[in-house]
Every structure is written in structure tokens, then in C-alpha cells.
């Protein structure tokens, strides 16, 4: 009927928990890996697919790609730890019935070991495994640019999503980072990193147009990141994506921010309801999410880092702004 197979020594257990702390979600990177994990290597991938199935008749594709270079400091690790909760958040209150989530990572094609890493669209916690395989870059160049354009090229031309293809419903793409993209996706780099070769370099504005046909595209700037306060950074992404640039002052709230953004866009909730859901779930992210999304709401006003909408003190979510 059972047994006592495992040691119950209090000191051994203590040491074991301590030793395993922090090694968790980053096993691949911390294990000394220096190359992109084969499961996440975009090279030779025809398309990452999000397909309807019997269990998920109305799939909705959601891509989340984040910058893993040195300028982001500990941000990638926080993201890696937080993002597994995203699926539960989307499902819990029925914002989306059948989300398919893809995780990926962006580096710099001019100097990094892993300029682009892209997992699969997954409908369950298997996406955690993709996160665990992401290689974190330690260094990063000083040019304040990362190869987001390669990531956008991949998402634009190497994903196939039923929500759009079958039902004309756009998916979502969130990129999280603190640097500019290069102005063009270069043929040579596309050939080296992804494979295939377009006739010429593809300007980023064209990629954004292509992407926006099939995805709602957002760029999230974590305020803890190195370049976050930089004016050029804001102007660059706002110029490309307009109001869909979100400033997040607490990275712990990244899942909640994404979930509520999707919930709002899906018309499943208004901001007040979403914030109530967060409070109900015991999340203390409400204030940060509210600030990030209120800015999205206030797109007509110039974006200002320090502006906290009235009534949104740390005391908790009170805003009922309708997007």
C-alpha cells in the first residue's frame, strides 16, 4: 500500500530546496547551452501553425516574443517565470476560449548566438517547456538595436493561423523589449537565421503592415529596463505601432497586462471589470496594469512616463475607463 521511499531529513530537504532555487525555469540556459535549442530554432521552419481542432474549434493565436539581451538585465528571467501563468489568466474568466500561445525570444543578428528563437503555438502548459528552452543572452551590443525586424519577418511570413486564415479573425502579437529594431530585415540575415531568401531587404514599415493584416501588434516597454526612459525608443515604436505601445512599470504584471489587453480587444471585458478580476484573483498587479492600459486608452494624449491617471494610487484598481 505504499512506503517511505524518500528521505525526510529536515536539513537535507532545506539544502535541496535552496540549491534548486533559481535554477528552475532556466535549465537550458543555465546548463551552459551556447546555441539555440533545436525546438526553438527558426531555421528551416516553413511555418509555426495555430490550427483549429475538435477540442479547440475556434483557436486564437497569441504570440509573445521578448528581448533576451543584456540590456534587459533580469527582465527575461522575470518574464520566463511569469509567462507560464498567461494561459490560466486568459481562460479563467473566459477572455478567450481557445488561446494558442507561442513564445519566442529576440536577440541581435549582428552579434548574438541566438538572434531569434521561436516555439510552437500551444494550447496547454507545454508552452512552459518552450520557455525553459530559451537561451538567455548575457551580453548585447551598444547600438541600442535588436533584431525585432527578423522576429517580425518570421511572424509575418512563417506563421499560419487558422483564426485569420479560416475565420478572418486577427491574432495577437506582443513584443517586449527596450531597444529599437533595425530599419530593414536584411536578406543575408534572413537566409542565415530563418532560411529562404527574399529578393531584397524588407523595410520594417512593410513588415508592420503585413503583420497588422493578421495580428494586433503591441510593443511592451518594461520600465525597469535599461533604455526604457529613452525618447528615441518611444518615438520609434510609436511611429510604427501608434497607440499599441504599452509602458509597464512592474514586470510582475506582464501576464495580467497581456491578458487584459486581449480581453479588452476581444470585447470580453472593460478595463474596470478586468481590474476587478485581477483583484478577485488576489493579484496585486491592478495598479500597474491599469497605468499601462490607461495609457493605451489615452492614445490621443502624448505618452508621458510619469503620468499616473488620477485615482490610480497604489491603493488599488479604481479606474473604469472603457477602451
Amino acid at each position: 500500500m505504499g512506503s517511505g521511499n524518500w528521505s525526510t531529513d529536515v536539513y537535507a530537504a532545506h539544502a535541496s530546496y535552496r540549491a534548486s532555487t533559481g535554477a528552475s525555469a532556466f535549465a537550458y540556459s543555465d546548463g551552459g547551452a551556447t546555441a539555440v535549442h533545436p525546438d526553438l530554432d527558426p531555421r528551416g521552419v516553413t511555418a509555426r501553425e495555430s490550427r483549429d481542432s475538435a477540442d479547440h474549434p475556434e483557436s486564437l493565436a497569441i504570440g509573445v516574443l521578448f528581448d533576451v539581451t543584456g540590456s534587459m538585465g533580469t527582465v527575461p528571467r522575470t518574464l520566463q517565470a511569469k509567462l507560464p501563468d498567461l494561459l490560466g489568466l486568459l481562460l479563467r474568466k473566459g477572455y478567450v476560449e481557445h488561446p494558442h500561445i507561442l513564445f519566442g525570444a529576440v536577440g541581435d543578428a549582428t552579434c548574438d548566438r541566438a538572434p531569434l528563437q521561436v516555439g510552437q503555438f500551444e494550447a496547454d502548459n507545454r508552452m512552459d517547456d518552450d520557455l525553459g528552452k530559451i537561451l538567455l543572452e548575457g551580453g548585447g551590443g551598444g547600438q541600442m538595436r535588436e533584431s525585432y525586424e527578423l522576429a517580425m519577418y518570421f511572424m509575418a511570413r512563417h506563421t499560419s493561423i487558422d483564426c485569420f486564415d479560416k475565420r478572418g479573425k486577427r491574432g495577437y502579437l506582443f513584443m517586449i523589449g527596450d531597444e529599437l529594431a533595425y530599419p530593414k530585415a536584411k536578406r543575408r540575415e534572413i537566409a542565415a537565421v530563418i532560411g529562404g531568401e527574399p529578393d531584397e531587404d524588407v523595410p520594417i514599415a512593410e513588415l508592420v503592415r503585413e503583420l497588422q493584416r493578421r495580428y494586433d501588434v503591441y510593443f511592451i516597454i518594461p520600465e525597469g529596463a535599461y533604455h526604457a526612459g529613452n525618447r528615441e525608443l518611444k518615438d520609434f515604436w510609436q511611429g510604427l505601432l501608434g497607440q499599441n505601445v504599452l509602458y509597464l512599470d512592474d514586470l510582475d504584471a506582464v501576464c495580467e497586462t497581456i491578458a487584459l489587453t486581449v480581453g479588452l480587444a476581444e470585447d470580453a471585458i472593460d478595463l474596470g471589470e478586468g481590474l476587478e478580476h485581477l483583484a478577485e484573483a488576489g493579484s496585486d498587479a491592478g495598479a500597474s496594469v491599469s497605468r499601462a492600459l490607461a495609457r493605451l486608452d489615452a492614445a490621443r494624449a502624448p505618452v508621458a512616463v510619469s503620468s499616473t491617471p488620477p485615482g490610480l494610487d497604489a491603493s488599488g484598481p479604481t479606474a473604469t475607463t472603457r477602451l
Binding site: M1, G2, S3, G4, N5, W6, S7, T8, D9, V10, Y11, A12, A13, H14, S16, Y17, R18, S20, T21, A23, S24, A25, A27, E49, S50, R51, D52, S53, A54, D55, H56, S59, L87, G88, L91, R92, H100, Q120, F121, E122, A123, D124, N125, R126, D128, D129, G132, A281, G282
Partner: protein, 434 residues
Amino acid sequence: MGHVIVVDLGFGDAGKGTVVDHLCRTAALRAGGRPPTSNKVTAVVRFNGGAQAAHNVVAPDGRHHTFAQFGSGTFTPGVRTHLSRFMLVDPLALAAEAEHLRALGVPDPLGRLTVDGEALLTTPYHRAANRARESARGAARHGSCGMGIGETASYALAHDDAPRAGDCLSPARLRRRLAAVRDWYRAAFPGGEDVPDAGACAEAFTAFAERVRIVGPGHLPALLRTGNVVFEGAQGVLLDEWHGFHPYTTWSTTTFANAETLLAEAGASAARLGVLRAYATRHGPGPFVTEDPALTADLPDRHNGTGRWQGAFRVGHLDAVALRYALEVTGGVDGLAVTHLDVAGARPDLRVCHSYEMDGERVGRLETGPPDLDRQAALTRRLLTARPVYAPLGRPVETIEAALGAPVVLRSHGPASTDKRSDHFWTPIDLSVR
């Protein structure tokens, strides 16, 4: 395939671990390639017992692990474990189990674990009390595993401040509650074995909470919506605290009841899968009508030796009377999984018991009823004198289906997942779409 509850219909050791592993593994295979999803198992949920469970799984590549608190689907990448509020969580044994899984190449087992904050904690003090009490019983031992499970449950009944997983997030309260358990142990068993002090225990438990996600009541309903979940029972129905043969029982509800409660709270449902061996086993003392010392000698169990606290591993013939009793007290099953068919195939002398000679009459059905330990104790006394009436086992699967009136949906012919065969129509994957 939908959610599935896996429960052992005997005295335990029927092969829940290998069945759960199989369900997780084959569902992953079927869903292989793209599109993702459909049949994949997201998580295994434990809904009774604690660290004393011993569910042996042998991977196709030969790796072996005795699952105690981790779900037996852990060898399949992506499958998580959730310890529900009905679990008695032992953070110390959990650390050692995670170490072993890691050594077998399972990346970050603790990262794939969630624990309900309401789950009771088993401490070194409960364990020491368990051993002291069982030693004092002498020859009348109950067959406890010496892991403190019963003491954890009984302490919680008598003390509102019994430590729970959520307390590990509040160091001061945790320390206070652990000190209370330690004081209780010291007062009740002054001659009992030495135990660590409450401070050291609190530090280890705090480290546990920093490493393992402790979640609220909303977690499981969300999990049930993200994919298929396998509920993995521990021990067996014949050891159930209310329906087992008192006092040779475990302090745990071993039927489908806890799992059904959790599912009902989430507005979900699951198929009910009963696991049994093609013959009978019992680990430890207590009634075992079809016990056969010759089989005990011939069919040693690789993963079940004589335990210091449990006693001997005993083997006997298929007991249809006891299995029908198990089905009756659980309210029946949607399908059966029969394991050890390779052993049955090699032993033509195996038999099946359709009725007992008991109190001078022939009995094919044992009385059941609402919880009543006096009735159960009386039943135990009668069972200790019962004699089995045997017929040849014949073709085990057909014999079992006829004797129990339920379809066999999974046949196991060896320890590994690759030794399993799903039945033609009644694959486990089909359980929910009947």
C-alpha cells in the same frame, strides 16, 4: 480523452502509477505533430494520501521512479502535478523525490508542481508520533508506512491550527504552528524518537514555499479548463478509511469521492477508471481471504519488499467478492484497467474466487453501508475466518469482465508504458465519448 480518475480497486499496488503514466504518455503521442492539443494531458492531480504512496513507473528506456507526491505522469514533458487540498503534503520527502527525478533527467520537477494552500502538512513530528504509536501496538500493528499520514489527519481533526501549505508563506505563523505540533508530540510520546526543532523545520518548509507554487482554490478549475487532467488516487478502495476492513485501513478516502468533489466544484466531470491486478496482493497485515503462501513465494514484487513499518508483501488469487464490494462502495466505474496480465499468462494455476465460505454459509456479496466503523470491524472479524471458493481463472480479461460487469479498457502486460494495450473499442482515450 477528457478527464479521468484512476482508482485502485484492491489493497493498493495494482499499478495506478503505470496506468497514469500510460494515459499521459499515449495522449501525448496521439497529439504528436501539429496541431497541438486535443488529447494531451495537462496535469496529474493527487486527491488523497500523502508521501507514503509508492507508484512505480518504468520508462521505456528503463528509468524507474517510485512516485510518492509527484504525479505518475511526470516522465512525460509538460505534464504538471497539482496537489489538491485533500493531499497531506510532506515537504521533506518531496525534496528528496524531486532530487531523484532530476537525477533521472526530468528537468525542474519542482517548477511543474503546484500545491493547494489548504493542504495539510506532514511534519517530522507526525512521523515520529506515527512510529511511536505503531511500535506500541506490537503484534497488532495496522500496517502503517511510518510516514505520519494518519497522525497528520487525526492531529488536524483535533487541532484547528494544524499546519497547512499556505502557512509556509507566513513564517511567524508557520513557526508557531510547527512548535505546537512538536510540543504535542513531546507530551504524548515522551520516550519517542528525537525530532528536529521547530526552527529548523520552519526554515526547510519556508524554502519549500519559496520554490514550489502554493495556489488558491481557483487554480484547479483553471487547470481543468486548460486540458485533460488525470486524477491519480493513492492506496486502494479496500483500504479506505470508511469502507476498508477496519482497523487495517489508511486514514484517507481512497474512493472516487474526493476527486468527484473537486470536479463538482469546478463544474467538470471525469471518466472513472478502476485498476486491478489479474491476481490479488496486500502489503501489510489485515484480512486477505484469497492469500496463497505459494504465490507469495513465487511472485515476489520487484518494487514491494517487506517494509520495516508495513510488514510483508502478500500475494493471492483474484478476489471477485472483494472487487465487487469495492465497486459497490465506490458507485461503479466506467472502465477497468487490468495489470500484470503477463504474470497471469505464465501461471495457469491462478484462480478466481467468486464467493466465500463464511459463518457456515456461502457469501458472494459483502454488506455495505454508510460510514460505521463498528460494522466494518465486525466485517473484518468475519473475513479473518472466511475461506475462498475458487474456480479456474481461465482467460483473465473475460473472467474479470463477467465477474465485475464492467468493460476492460486497458490491458497491461509488463511494467513499462509500451507493455500496455488499449482495447479495440474501449481505448482509455474513448472513455469520455461513450
